[in-house]
């Protein structure tokens, strides 16, 4: 009986490995401990939802200059913001530049609410990004393969594969060539970006995708790029393409 159980376990492990070895992208969720997954599974205990609530409050907060709020134009968040976040990063024809969701939020704050832009990584910007991102939860990650986006994807691909820092490691060294392997006590994930902003346990708070980029670059002892730099935008464009098809989990919980 014990032997049968052992064989079953080996078969199950093998089947699991087969699934993981499949060609499609795998969410970081699948690499988390069950206790971490449970935190994300329940919106009532997911710590990132404190920021979603804050986002809801900000949505209807009148601007100090012109008394307008996001809610004046976008009254029903669930309908009006449905499928919005997954269109980014993209080339914005009105702004004539390639931008991510955070930059779009800030351009709206500046142009429509006549207010100061929110600082990258600030709680308010994370709150609005989480709130809008949530409206695309459950949809598959998508990447615009148009002429404006393509050069950004290609540049991001190069950045992703470039070894850097004192430890001389590229993103691809770990997240493409060694995902599934043990790094100390952790299993290296594919570094997919389908759950940002995320509540990260080791940060003890919600952080942006760019904060994660900076964290990784510091980890390989490399000089990070600036927030909203072309390099980070390119990396985001490439990683969005790489995650194509993965279900959006925003706001996620990670280790």
């Amino acid at each position: 009986m014990k032997r049968l159980a052992l064989i079953l376990i080996i078969c199950a492990a093998h089947a699991h490995a087969q699934t993981l070895a499949g060609s499609g992208p795998i969410s970081g969720y699948d690499f988390m401990e069950p206790t971490t997954q449970q935190l994300q599974d329940d919106d009532f205990i997911n710590p990132a939802f404190f920021l979603v609530d804050r986002g809801l409050a900000l949505w209807d907060q009148p601007s100090p200059t012109n008394s307008k709020s996001c809610g004046n134009c976008h009254q029903d968040i669930e309908t009006d913001m449905y499928d919005v976040s997954r269109q980014y990063p993209k080339y914005d024809t009105k702004l004539s530049k390639f931008i991510n969701l955070e930059m779009k939020i800030n351009s709206e704050i500046v142009n429509k609410l006549d207010a100061s832009p929110l600082a990258p990584g600030s709680e308010d910007l994370l709150a609005l990004t989480s709130l809008i991102g949530l409206q695309s939860r459950g949809l598959p990650m998508a990447s615009a393969s148009n002429a404006e986006t393509q050069p950004w994807i290609e540049r991001g691909n190069t950045i992703y594969k470039t070894k850097r820092g004192q430890l001389n490691l590229s993103c691809a060294d770990c997240h493409q060539d060694h995902w599934g392997d043990r790094l100390r006590g952790d299993t290296i994930s594919q570094g997919q970006i389908n759950a940002f902003p995320i509540f990260r346990l080791i940060w003890g708070e919600v952080g942006s995708l760019q904060r994660m980029f900076t964290w990784c670059m510091n980890a390989v002892r490399s000089e990070p790029y600036n927030n909203d730099s072309d390099e980070y935008l390119a990396l985001e464009a490439f990683l969005t393409k790489r995650a194509q098809g993965l279900t959006i989990e925003t706001p996620g919980v990670r280790r």
């Binding site: 470039t162 070894k163 850097r164 820092g165 004192q166 430890l167 001389n168 490691l169 060294d173 770990c174 060539d177 060694h178 392997d181 043990r182 790094l183 100390r184 006590g185 290296i188 670059m217 510091n218 002892r221 490399s222 000089e223 990070p224």
Partner: protein, 143 residues
């Protein structure tokens, strides 16, 4: 057969001349980095030190009780049986001498690195003596 001497700035800013020579088969030969023999006991401390990019992040040494050892590189048990002291030193100093695309960080090189963080610029992961100490410990790992 070529011969070159390169200046390496070790952690703590000690400048060390590393004598290397390129053998006929293109492999670089590197001699002991210091005149002080490696101390295997200190080598183990250095090897375990997570602030010094611990070997155990990626490698497993079954004879150590440390939990959560990595499995990215090959296990280091019996490594002294498989490699000569010279070859192991070469791998520690800069494994790119053996495989240009290696994922093993160069523990004693400041050359050909891209965008090294300000805090780490011009510094090596290990000092020369730390290379020799870790090497002394590894040379004790025989089958």
């Amino acid at each position: 057969m070529g011969f070159k001497i390169s200046l390496v700035l070790g952690a703590g800013y000690a400048a060390i001349w590393v004598a290397t020579s390129v053998l006929s088969d293109g492999v670089t030969a590197i001699y002991a980095l210091t005149n002080t023999a490696g101390d295997p006991e200190n080598g183990l401390l250095v090897l375990r030190d997570s602030s010094k990019a611990s070997c155990l992040i990626c490698h497993n040494i079954a004879s150590l009780p440390d939990r959560d050892q990595g499995r990215i590189g090959p296990a280091l048990d019996g490594v002294a049986t498989r490699y000569s002291e010279h070859d192991l030193r070469l791998r520690l100093i800069d494994a790119r001498h053996i495989n240009e695309k290696t994922v093993m960080p160069p523990y004693f090189s400041t050359e050909n690195l891209f965008r090294v963080g300000q805090k780490w610029q011009g510094k090596t992961i290990y000092t020369a003596q730390e290379v020799e100490d870790v090497l002394a410990f590894l040379m004790g790992l025989e089958d």
